[in-house]
């Protein structure tokens, strides 16, 4: 099963559209209010990073199922400057510092799985998943 849709992130309003899409999908999957808010916040952070630091990119949202579990997968991709020091942006204490990759540890905490691929000068792709428990 692979139901999905995506939002191009170019203006700040697109962040809102991505949030809306994410919340609807999360609700469809069956997440409760708090988890809907968490998934939406994660999408919001990812979309904001694209908007602020990459200029433009894309948020894709998929409903997924695997081994009897259902969940939601978010793929945030851009062709922006990339993140030079991934270890650093994943460290706590850097979330409030601003800059590319800000808030990544937060997104990781809000979701269950988190993977980031980034190449300086090429762009960044973040794939993050949350399962309905």
């Amino acid at each position: 099963m692979n139901l999905g849709s995506s939002v191009e992130i170019i203006t700040e309003w697109d962040i809102v559209a991505a949030r809306q899409l994410g919340r609807n999908e999360a609700k469809q999957v069956g997440f409760g209010t708090v988890d809907q808010a968490r998934i939406t916040t994660a999408i919001s952070e990812l979309a904001r990073n694209i908007y602020l630091y990459a200029g433009k990119g894309k948020i894709e949202i998929e409903r997924i199922s695997e081994a009897g579990l259902v969940g939601i997968k978010i793929i945030a991709s851009d062709e922006g400057p990339g993140i030079p020091d991934l270890r650093k942006v994943m460290e706590d204490g850097f979330t409030t510092s601003g800059g590319l990759g800000a808030g990544m540890p937060g997104v990781k905490r809000l979701m269950d799985e988190f993977k980031v691929i980034s190449e300086v000068g090429e762009g960044t792709t973040i794939i993050t998943t949350k399962w309905l428990h």
């Binding site: 209010t33 808010a37 968490r38 916040t41 706590d92 540890p105 937060g106 905490r109």
Partner: protein, 334 residues
């Protein structure tokens, strides 16, 4: 979500909604600790509140439920910040544990053997202001000679401690070399200059007692002067020698001087943690330190050192502002 917590929360809230009593508020607040213990995020607390309220009063207006959803949204970042904070606290605890290990390693690594030259009585004490000591004592024992290096790394804590291991290994290499004070400081200076970054300086006093001639010779790399107490005149003389701090200049030259010790004479080598001891009323005067030393002139070197330390730390309300080190070489009375 732990069902038990939700159920209990509902009961406590239900009581409060009936009574609005201080007692039920107190019970509620005690209960709130459970949320923290069980690591329940603020947004989940509101969600628990919402479900409890719904079970108790399902017919409230729609705005009430919507406003609680709004509040959940507001709390997500608080929850994240809280978790981040917890993770930083755990990290700090891990660092603290590493520090404790490092302190032990430092103690073992920097262990030095007290000399036992003929006719010489040695006493010393070194107390760190913080966890790791930035003062360092190194004894060198050779035939008919006992030497000591008293060093103070300017700056405290871990960088200072790392720096000291370097001095230690530099000194270890000296065992068979010419150990005259000016030569020793010259060698250590070159090692420090080569290996240490420009922001780190070390002051060092090096003293050598020759038990055949009863001569104490010394050199100083920008260190506090030592004090020589003469038992004959009951007076103190400062023992200072010209020389730059270690690590400043590669070709630095160190002057060497010497003094003959009579029976009952002693030499006190200190770091600035001693000479710059301060109380609320300002620095403790050098004359005060001298009179503490003179009071115990007939005791053993160790008793003199311990006494000065206990008196000075008492005057400072047991709060050392800097690492504190004293070494005393005393010529025994026969």
């Amino acid at each position: 979500m732990p069902q038990e917590v939700t159920k209990q929360y509902k009961e406590i809230m239900s009581k409060y909604l009936e009574s609005q009593s201080e007692e039920d508020l107190y019970v509620g607040q005690q209960f709130s600790r459970r949320f923290i213990e069980k690591d329940i995020a603020p947004e989940d607390v509101i969600s628990i509140h919402k479900s409890a309220l719904f079970e108790l009063h399902p017919n409230l207006r729609k705005q009430v439920w919507d406003s609680l959803d709004f509040l959940i949204e507001m709390m997500i970042h608080y929850g994240l910040t809280m978790r981040e904070h917890q993770s930083l606290v755990r990290k700090q605890e891990a660092i603290q544990m590493e520090m404790n290990v490092a302190t032990k390693v430092q103690d073992t690594l920097l262990k030095t053997v007290e000399p036992d030259a003929e006719g010489l009585d040695v006493g010393w004490i070194s107390q760190p202001a913080h966890q790791m000591n930035g003062d360092y004592i190194y004894f060198l024992n050779q035939e008919n000679a006992s030497s000591v290096a008293v060093a103070d790394v300017i700056g405290k804590g871990i960088p200072a401690a790392l720096c000291m291991s370097m001095i230690k290994f530099g000194m270890d290499g000296l065992q068979n070399e010419n150990s005259s004070p000016d030569n020793v400081l010259g060698i250590i200076n070159r090692i420090v200059e080569k290996s240490v970054d420009d922001s780190m300086f070390i002051s060092m006093f090096y003293g050598k007692y020759n038990s055949i001639t009863s001569t104490f010779s010394y050199a100083s790399a920008g260190h506090e002067p030592a004090l020589h107490f003469s038992s004959g005149t009951s007076a103190f003389t400062e023992l200072d020698a010209r020389g730059l701090l270690l690590g400043v200049k590669k070709e630095a030259i160190y002057d060497e001087h010497s003094v003959v010790l009579e029976e009952g004479d002693f030499v006190v080598m200190m770091t600035d943690g001693v000479t710059e001891s301060r109380t609320e009323n300002g620095f403790i005067e050098m004359s005060a330190i001298k009179s503490l030393l003179a009071e115990k002139k007939d005791e053993s070197a160790q008793e003199i050192a311990d006494y000065v330390y206990s008196e000075l730390s008492r005057m400072q309300d047991y709060q050392l502002s800097d690492d504190f080190t004293i070494v005393i070489f005393k010529k025994k009375t026969v």
